[in-house]
Amino acid sequence: MEIYLYTALFSPLVGSLITALFGASRKTYFTGILASGLLFASFVSSLILLTYVMAGHTVHVEMMTWIATGDLYIPFGFVVDQVSVTMMMVVTTVSTVVHIYSIGYMSHDKGFNRFFSYLSAFVFSMMVLVMSDNFLGLFIGWEGVGLCSWLLIGFWYHKESATWAANEAFIMNRIADLAMLIGIFMIYWNLGSLQYDVVFAHISSLPMPIITWIGIFLFIGAMGKSAQFPLHTWLADAMEGPTPVSALIHAATMVTAGVYLVVRANPIYSEIPDVGNAIASLGAFVAMFAATMALVNRDMKRIIAYSTLSQLGYMFVAAGLGAYWVALFHLMAHAFFKALLFLGAGNVMHAMHDELDPFKMGGLKTSMKWTWILMTLASVALAGIYPLAGFFSKDLILEVAFVEQHYILYTVLLLTAGMTAFYSFRLVALIFHGDKRHLEHGIHPHEAYTFMLYAMAPLAILAVIAGMVFKTPYYQMVTQLLPAVQYHIHNHTTFWIMTIGTQLFVILAIAYAYKKYAKAVKVDKKVESGFFYQLLYNQYYIPKIYDEVFSKPYLQLSKLAWKQIDLRIVDATVDGIANIIYQTGEKTHTMQDGNLSSMLRWMVIGVVVLLVLAVAFTAGYNAVNLRAM
């Protein structure tokens, strides 16, 4: 089985390195096909590993020593167990699809080869992240995906906004990474190891405050990667990257790494339910918070990004409440339909010549029939309509909140589900229905390449069946590792009322969205100039606040540190000391006027000074000695 593990892990790296060799040369489809092929190999290996794991085995290999000093011993070790194999499947599936899709999407781009190199490197980092058997190995992947995210967001590096967003994403993630490092330090100094199995076996022996702090620090790390409030602003800005990147990194895989970390570290979080509750509350808050921003946004990709953020909130609610398998399940289902949604958006963007404002589109269902079907399917899945994937995973989270008697969380999540349905279909309605507003801008849309649509097909299928078909086998497999808790509402009446109620609520929201946006778009000036609309439209002014409170003062402070402190104080002091010495020489060199007479006077003055010193010191010496006697 080890060979499959290594294939799954390293074939993306091989793909990345080979395509990197062509990085600076002219575009060639060979690179795209090679990278996709190698990823497919990785996918197949993962699939084989999945069957192996489903049979109840796990694979654990230690490739080589990485860092060993003192008592610290960190190998490159990889583990394929129920949790990581789920992630591997998600990552390889979505990334294979995205790779193939990108061959079409990026076909007109100069940096075609470079793009595949980065994209495969990302997949490799993500595989390291999920397969590592220790916290530092996870951290390698963690930083690796951050690097690739930086490279890919800033892929069109001539665009100021893209490079800015790339740097923002990297730096914000670094803030969280610091917390994660601290968490790792705490684990090491308290348990002497960073291996998952050792840490999880001994975690309960630690005193409560330490476990709590470890949990908090690790979660702050997860917050950065999963863009939880208050480190969320980078995700929306990250939409500057090419759309396949958004689909793969900023919807399906990287952003869910935080959820994966919490799920992976479930033995730690099981010890500290209070922190879990805090995580769940934050998750619910973010779910709502992001959904509200998505309601009014006018940027297609940003709407989907906020929707991702909102869904990540759901996952954290589940993970925080101890329903780790539910969180992981929603992670998987979400990856499929959200990637699909993004790829659909990519088709639309291509057709619209990179226009992002849905208010300038409309009526696209005639010219882009298949894209319309796929995106509607994805939206239905996202809204959680039976029997698509979202219903099984998202409604399960609602049930978890209900069963765990967190009714406030439940209410928030329910409301958010409504909003989700509304903004998803607002988008679909604006793009595909109504007047062909884009004609005013002289754009004539066309459907994407057929093979791109075929590439999207697996995701569509998964979005439909993932919930229905996979739930039971998935549950059986993953609960061998994660706590097996079935969240059933035992009262049948309540269960049915809730399920049907939720479905009705969501359908109503969809209907309202269609009613409002599917025919003609009426712009209600009064609402738009209102406080709430502006607040939401400006993302609660948070980016602005960050800019004013952190970025600008930091730059000012840096300039101050350089120009005032470094040059005016520190360096000036040094130069001042040198100057004093120099000036003393400059002033006293008149003493050396060559006049013997004055030199003699100076000599006598010197003699007198020496005599004074002699008297003073001897007197002092005697005084001390006399006292001693």
């Binding site: 003493m591 050396q592 060559g594 006049n595 007479s597 003699l600 006077r601 006598v604």
Partner: protein, 101 residues
Amino acid sequence: MELTLNHYLVLSAVLFAIGLIGVMRRKNLLMLFFATEILLNAVNVGMAAISHYRGDYTGQMFAFFIIAIAASEVAVGLGLLIVWYKRTGKIDLDQMTSMRG
């Protein structure tokens, strides 16, 4: 009234001070040499006195060598002085400023 070493040392100090005043006061090089002779003699008195009161010849020896050095100094110094006088016609210290820093 018994004479002690201190009497001689005080005398030596006083003579030395006179010499110092001369050294500082004189601008004429020849007169300056006189003042330096006074300085050397002042020290010699002290040396001889110490030698006597400590019962040790070392002091006298030093005085002896000081006299020898004083003699050489006068010989060389006067020679230089004459050369200088021949060149410039003056032996005023204020004019000798070629060593200005």
